[in-house]
Symmetry: C2
Subunit: 97 residues, 2 copies
DNA sequence: TTTATTCTCCTATTTTAATAGGATTATATG
DNA sequence: CATATAATCCTATTAAAATAGGAGAATAAA
């Protein structure tokens, strides 16, 4: 009789350009692990509203919080000079089949 | 007789874990393009101090600002589930020779 | 359809980010 | 070494993030 945490899709595009994309990834990772917003927020020591904002793609969230939450929930980030971007995006895409 | 913008190295580790790493990448990209802190800050419409904070790895900088500056200066980011992290890191590393 | 639970809003408060301007420090170059 | 210039470090002000707590809306599942 209980509503469960609803799984969402991880973004297919490997390039991270916007806050929305990071938010979607974080939400996907959180729901995949079955944690509620409140549980996850407690686990990373932030307010549930802040985590909600991050998942909603609000650009106002602090960079440190965003990186910490991403890592804690299982979202990995990568960095490269823009010149390598296309090649890397292709590599990741291919590696997924 | 003038001091020029000093080039710095881009982080070798493709994985983005900390604010410091993003800061180092941004600084590397900025200096590579020969822009001063003030010029670059003006170009992306933020205060020079904020850009300085970002490059110094301060976690307090806003996520939206960080992503916007990274993109504008030529730093590309990628995102993936943690399960793919090692494989992707290896791919990027190999692609660089 | 009902219901337990999750998520999203809302308000108020406190903390802190972002800014502007300028002073100081550091250092690449001549 | 001398010095022009970039980066850092101040101070003060304004704007906004982060928080806590709870009310309301949405919705999986029985």
């Amino acid at each position: 009789m209980a509503r469960r945490v609803v799984p969402t899709a991880f973004p297919t595009n490997p390039q991270l350009r916007t806050c929305d994309e990071l938010g979607a990834a974080v939400r996907s990772a959180r729901t995949a692990s079955g944690l509620t917003l409140e549980e996850a927020a407690l686990a990373v020591s932030i307010a549930k509203q802040t985590l909600g904002d991050l998942e909603a793609g609000k650009p106002t969230v602090g960079l440190g919080i965003a990186l910490r939450v991403a890592q804690a929930l299982g979202v990995s980030l990568f960095i490269a000079p823009a010149g390598e971007a296309d090649q890397i995006a292709r590599l990741i895409h291919e590696a997924r089949g």
